[in-house]
Symmetry: C2
Subunit: 290 residues, 2 copies
Amino acid sequence: MNPVNKLVLLGTGLIGGSFALALKRARLVNEVVGVGRSMSNLERAIELKVIDSASLDAASAVQGADLVMLGTPVGQMGALMQQIAPHLAPDCIVTDGGSTKQDVVALYRQHLPQQLAHCIPGHPIAGSDLSGASAAQYGLYEGRRVVLTALPENTQESIARVRALWEACGAVVHELSAEEHDGIFACVSHVPHLLAFSYMNAVLDRDNADRCLDFAATGFRDFTRIAGSHPEMWRDITLANRDAILRDLNANRARLDELIALVESTDADALTTFIDRASKARSKWGKPGG
Amino acid sequence: MNPVNKLVLLGTGLIGGSFALALKRARLVNEVVGVGRSMSNLERAIELKVIDSASLDAASAVQGADLVMLGTPVGQMGALMQQIAPHLAPDCIVTDGGSTKQDVVALYRQHLPQQLAHCIPGHPIAGSDLSGASAAQYGLYEGRRVVLTALPENTQESIARVRALWEACGAVVHELSAEEHDGIFACVSHVPHLLAFSYMNAVLDRDNADRCLDFAATGFRDFTRIAGSHPEMWRDITLANRDAILRDLNANRARLDELIALVESTDADALTTFIDRASKARSKWGKPGG
């Protein structure tokens, strides 16, 4: 496989930085330029050899690039696409690491209509509470999944190129429609985060919240870990994937209503059935570390 | 401190077995008798040196004991108390490891009214998905909390004795009222379990449940870990602590309704405030491993 000649990271954090490190280790990139909003993070990225040079200006940075990776929160992607549009080489591939895909697809269509053959929306499933260049790590994508939600306008060659690069990072690549992607991740990622935020707020509402938190142990720790996630990022995801999230939140409310009715009625058998269905499915799921 | 001469474990699993192992290591027990419902688990317990001898008959086993530990699910404790009542030495201390306390207190009052001076209800906060004698481990209680919900009838001497034995196991002992205990653990343990069961059921309701579970990753893994817990045990806990649990489940429903309204209204600022409150509190909580 030919190496990427010039990779530009728009956003130099966990997602883009780890992508660059993995490609460097595979000797599949000659030059990495990092773009960011503050020099301090970019300097750190140079120090850590995540990038070779840095820029605060996306427009000039992408000139001559053959691959651009959008690794910022989705909320910043539209403005970046707008800035780079006039400066992209005609065959430059643009991809991203956004957690929602229907909205990112809409941004590509709005801001990069001339480039659509080579805009390959992606979502590496490797979230973390960490952020910034210091969070970038070799091997982050080893064995992880990456979902590509290709556009009908994409060339097979560009899709295959992005797929091959991710596979070189150790990732397992899946192709889904953007709609299917957003439905699945509303269910298994976005709604659990929102339910964890909601539960934490209910704890904090209690008169003896501090005492409760003081006695909280390992079950609480794991159940609420994702409640510590980044507020602006999760606000953006929630608004971006609103319809799918609302469907799942309402389904969860219906199940909670059913549970409350079961507890009120003290119907032991129905309660056992309710718990047993969940427990069996979770035990069967049991992935490594699960 | 004088060692326990004869400790009887009613239920020879994680809680009682680990208590016996810790006391043995501290040279604070001379003889441990394990009582259970099947010989296979008891034989395993002898093999693992968790107990010195085994019995299927609680009544004869407790004769001559100076300490009895009820380490079964709460649902079995009433019958066991009834069986042992006529056979306890007058100064024998009876304690337990039940996850709910108001109901266990009621069982002590019902079945052991002559023994109340020495019945010390307890709850070691060291849950696990594991069970059986094989789950017993040295050091399980090291640095863990144990809550005692002493009765007004208890002698100070018996409370101090149980406290000192737990401290010898490495535990940090707290005293709460049974009502306060049950309110706190409804909030930080029982309701999270029920919410995790409810969420899993909502996932399973989906047409594409298998595909969702296939893409579920680390956030899902941690959020749902407790959904794999034992159905009968959690049915019993739910029914035993019904009132406190219903209060918290309803508080969670109110917060979920609020969240759904925020997402429907796409009120970005209010959504940020909602998430931020939860995220700050969870980050501040951050215990080791959290």
